[in-house]
Every structure is written in structure tokens, then in C-alpha cells.
Amino acid sequence: MIVVMRRDTRCNCGMPARVPAMVNPALLGWARDQSGLAPEPVAKRLQVKIEKLLAWEEGETKPTVRQAKALAKLYHRPFGLLFLPQPPMVAPLAAEYRRLPGVQPGAESPELRLALRVMSQRRELALELMEELGSTVPIFQLSAHVASGPEAVGLQLREALGVSDEEQLGWSDSWKALRRWRAAVESVGALVFQFPKVSLSQVRGLSLLDSPLPAIGINSKEMAPGARVFTLLHELVHIALANGKDERSALHEKRDDAAWAEVERFAEEAASAALIPSTLLKPFLDHLNVEPHQWSVELMRSLAGKFRVTPLAMATRLRAVGEMSWNHYRQWKSRWNEFVALLPASTKGFATPVDKTLSRGGRPFTRLVLEAMDANRITSVQACQYLDLRFNHFDALRAELRLGSTRATALADSGE
């Protein structure tokens, strides 16, 4: 855009150090509140006193342009937003995401709020771009009920995803498995994102129960691709339950903790049934002929590797199909935890900027943004911002999308 303004030949050869930013104070308070940050850490980050920050928010004084820019960056908002006449109307995040164990709606950590907001924005953007481009919005039709039982739901999901037994047993590595499962979930009308910077102790995965185009988020701090696959399927079960009206968003979900733990266990068992169907598992079990107490860590790892799942997911499955009792499962899990504790810290794989864009936004979303830019529906700057990628990487991004490369690094985004 070119805007003609009055003649002014000032140059950038003496920017005053304390140019006030004519921001709307209401926006400063709103943006901080939305970020989930208390005044103390914000004031500390900006190296000002809390009273000063609060005075900006009250409109008693103005921050400098530099300080306002720092605030916008800290709140992950565009600088221009701070100049709006009034704060935008936004629905609470908890009206969108599924109930997450240990997360109180409205009291999410700043990192989790950011992850949720980015997911929500990407989803809304995808819908807008599809409309702009005249594309058909896929309808997510999978619907599940707790009453059907985890085994039936798992099989139903597996059938809908279209991953065959032969294909699964033929994958040469777990990254390929993750990429294929992800594409399968995307093909049934859900978006799949990966989010960084949220500790695994908070959440491993989450989902936005919106329709159309529900979205799944996987925590990319999870290093094992098999664990990401399990999270992906676990979240898919939650979305299917929500589609079947058996689950509601965190804001509206009213079950007590014990009842909710049952839903979580259901999702775990259904996910493992989808990943490890009993018909596919049985020949392996017959061949191994292992007594319930004989499952060693090594044996479990070996069997899990055939299915490209984690040993823990395999143990969960063996318990569900009755190959292990709860007691044997707990004993095995205790040995597994000891084994994991002795493992050296995993080294983070190298992820290029293109790898990060693809792993975080997913291929369907990335394609949409590129297509919209090529059709001049969005600008190149917007495309860069939506993909979080510099323009000079766009050629490599297009090449990667064309090639459909399955390089391991394409997903090795450690979230940093």
C-alpha cells in the first residue's frame, strides 16, 4: 500500500529517546490480561516499576514508543493493536479447548494461553482463507460415544483414518509414522498443529472442539515421535467424543474429577486400540508367547517398535486386551520409569526454519497461506507472519511441499 502524505523530509538521524506512544491505555491492560501475565513480571521485563506500568494502563502517563513496542512483543500482539479505539471482543479460550487435567479454565499459564491463541488464530485464518479462495471447508464427521467402548471407537477411528495394517508394519522409522498419522487425521477434516514452549507437565496435547475444522495441538517438547502419535490419536478421540456430544469445552464441562479421569482413560484406551488393533497384535503375541510377568522393558520396546508406538502405549494396550493385569502393568511401568530415568538426555534434532513452519502449522495450513498469497488475497508480509518464516525461505518451503519429503528433521522441532 502506498499512502501519499504531506511533504516531510525528516530522516532517522536523531530519533528522540523518549518519543511517547499514543497508545490506548485500555488496550495495554486488555493485552496484558489476555496474555495471562501479572503486572510484576511485565514490569520486571521492561525494567520499570509496577506503579509505572499500572499508570500506563490507567492512562495517567504514556509509555515511550520503545516501551510500547516491548509490551506488544511481550504480549505477542501487533504493535498497531495498542492503538485501537477499544479492545476487541473475544470469547474466553476455555470455550474452545477441551477440558485439560490440572488446568483451571481462565487460569491457564501464559505459555499455554499463547499456544491456544495461536491455534485458534490459525484455525480462524484457515477458514477465512478457504472462503476467500472458494475452497470447500472439510466437514469433520467422526463421532464417538463413551457407551460404545474404547475398543469399538478405536477401530472406528482407525478405519476412518485409512491406515492399513501392512502400511503400518512397513514404516521404516517413527517420524514417517508420525507424518502419516498426522496426514490421515488432517484428511478427515481436522487441523493438526504443534506448539512450542509449554512444559510437558502442563499438557502433552490439546484440542479446540470447534466445528467445522476442529484443531489438535501436540506439544513439540515431546521428543519421541511415537509419543506424539499417541497424543494425536488421544486428542482425536476427544474431538470425536465432542462431535458425538459426549464431551464439552473446558468452560462447559461439568463432570467431577473422577468422572473426567474415566473419560481420559477412555481416550487413552481408544487411542491405543486405534494404533494397535487386536487383530494385528495377536499374531505377534502368539509368536512371542510371553507370560504376563515376563514382559521386560527390552521385549516391550521391541514389540512397540514393530507398530511404531511407544513402549508405554504398547503396555497400555496389553493391559487393555488382558495380556497384562493391572498389577503386572504397574510392575512393568515401574521398571520402565527406572529405565527412562537412566537414559541420557535426548539430543535435540536440528530443524531448519522450513521444518519448523511445516511441523508447527501443518501442510494443509501452509499450503492455504501460500495459495492465498499467490492469489493476492493476502500480502507477502502477512504470509511471512502467518507462517512465522522469512520470505527468503519460501522457495525452500514450496520445494518441501512439492517433494513431500519425509526427512526426520522435518518434524524434529524441539519447541525452542
Partner: protein, 87 residues
Amino acid sequence: MYSLDTNVFMDWQSRFYPLDLFIQLGNDIEALILRGEWRAVDLVREEIDAVGTPGLRAWAHAHPIVFVPLSPEIQVEAAALRRRIRS
């Protein structure tokens, strides 16, 4: 005077009219810059740093005269412009 946003620089140098091919266009713009008729607020340079190609980023740093501070006057004028476009 032209007041430009980041897209103008991106479309000019990175997308449609690369400097090494569209030499006369580059010369014309250099002339506009010298006459003080080609300016952007310094936020644009920061945005170019964030999303631009290496060539554009280098060009922006080699042309500091293009980028003016976001003074209160410019902020007020931009807000008025925004209101006028919205209404």
C-alpha cells in the same frame, strides 16, 4: 511524498521487481529517496528485519534516511487516517 509500508519493499525487491533486473526502477526510487519523497516509519525497517530477504534487509540498513521515527505527530496523523478509512 510517499509513505510506505513493508509490503511495498517486499513486493518491489523480493517478489516482483528485483534490483538486479529492474535497474531503472531502482534508480528512480533512489532519486525519490534523495528528494525526500520516499519514506517509511522505522517500524517498517524492524518488520523488514523480521520477514525480509537478506538483500532487502541489507538495502534497508544501507538506506537509514528512508526510515523516520514514529513521532507523536505521525501517530496522530496515522490514527486520523485510520479513522477516515474506517468511517
